[in-house]
Symmetry: none
Subunit: 249 residues, 2 copies
Amino acid sequence: MARAREKPVTARPPAAGVTLWRRIADDLERAIAAGDIAAGEKLPGETEIAARFGVNRHTVRRAIAELAGRGLVRAARGSGTFVEGGRLAYPISARTRFSEIVGTAGREAGGRLVASRLEPADGAIARRLKIPKGTPVVRLDFVRSANGVPLSAGTTWLPAARAPDAAKIYEATGSITRVLAAAGISDYRRYSTRVTAAVADAIDAARLDLSPGRPLLVVESVDVTPDGKPITTSTGRFAADRVELMVEN
Amino acid sequence: MARAREKPVTARPPAAGVTLWRRIADDLERAIAAGDIAAGEKLPGETEIAARFGVNRHTVRRAIAELAGRGLVRAARGSGTFVEGGRLAYPISARTRFSEIVGTAGREAGGRLVASRLEPADGAIARRLKIPKGTPVVRLDFVRSANGVPLSAGTTWLPAARAPDAAKIYEATGSITRVLAAAGISDYRRYSTRVTAAVADAIDAARLDLSPGRPLLVVESVDVTPDGKPITTSTGRFAADRVELMVEN
DNA sequence: ACTTATTTGTTCGTATGTATG
DNA sequence: ACATACATACGAACAAATAAG
């Protein structure tokens, strides 16, 4: 029977055939959609929600897991569960710089270098950079974030001859722009951008702190010097729940 | 029970409600989309694929027939099955026209009007078209395809005052450009484009002929007259496996 | 620097309802 | 009617991260 409890606060019909956790998830979703809990705000604690609905904490967790799986909220151990904010508008233009874009949006840009190494350019990279296949290139793998929330995981390649110690400089400054500046390239611009989508696998999920199965924007870009010579190319996987690419014509 | 087999090599969840051949077709499609098998390359033999998945060759044939039907691969008796073209490159520019883009790629553009009706503009549409909320707008839902393969399912809105019988004209001509021409708008250009990603639900899957869970590109755009007045706005869901958006600066 | 309280995450166990063959 | 499998729901305890004093 299981319902010899005091009384749930939600005066709603039993809704036959709908599980408890589902009803709680719907209630929370409605509260979020209605703006009762604004973007960025913290949800009540699990125990509090459980008490309010008169259910076990596990049931609340199941409901929250559902919302988290859909990217509506994000749980952070030790601090709480937060409503995901609106997507960060990420303009794609000739002058596309990660840190500038994030900064303009009033958030703090972060970049963590995951790995770096020297490797010969494979066919695809060589074609993008217009260099002979096999030319040594520096490869930088990193995760970029705004206010500590990971936005994208990706790789940037640049010819090793241009910037032999790119990794070191990036680690010190946290900026690709600075790496290029140190290599004597004071300015550059976005030449081409190709966009597709994918679904996060376990690796993406771990890097971007989201659940597997969530959508990703896959962005492949080439940057050139002011006189049109390719200087870097990147492939990035963006959490689509957190970013929105914008093209203005 | 159906799983008294040895063990499929693909360690993927059962994906309830999806037939075996469909899953194999998706796996092959993904491998092709990811470039594991490049355009023009030959697929492994049917018997080899069957062995790898631990299924009967007939099941593989059914999967390949599906891909062939969608134009992704081409089977040639006696020599093998070959991958056709890759993703359709879809440039986003001031002059973005579906039929032109598909035509330039050497494929035949198709558009099927799924539904149309007159409705008051909600907040989001009103903002995009810069009209008062509640203004009557014509809403056209359609599925667009190339060589019979669905590429996108979406909706276009335009102020009813501009083109009262938009649906009729679209049905006759199959072109939004013609609809606008009939309304006295000889030219228009893309003003803004916003791109995010999503995961296909059952409805998307049915409309775009793909399986639920596959990635989609969600494109929201506004077109304006040459003097900058918003004239149409659209939201489209593109099968990311078949399309690649391109931005050139 | 340290402690304490709070909050989510994880792992046991138990019981029950439901669908399947 | 029965056995089995699975998802749901509850309970208790502890681990781990975070925030506050």
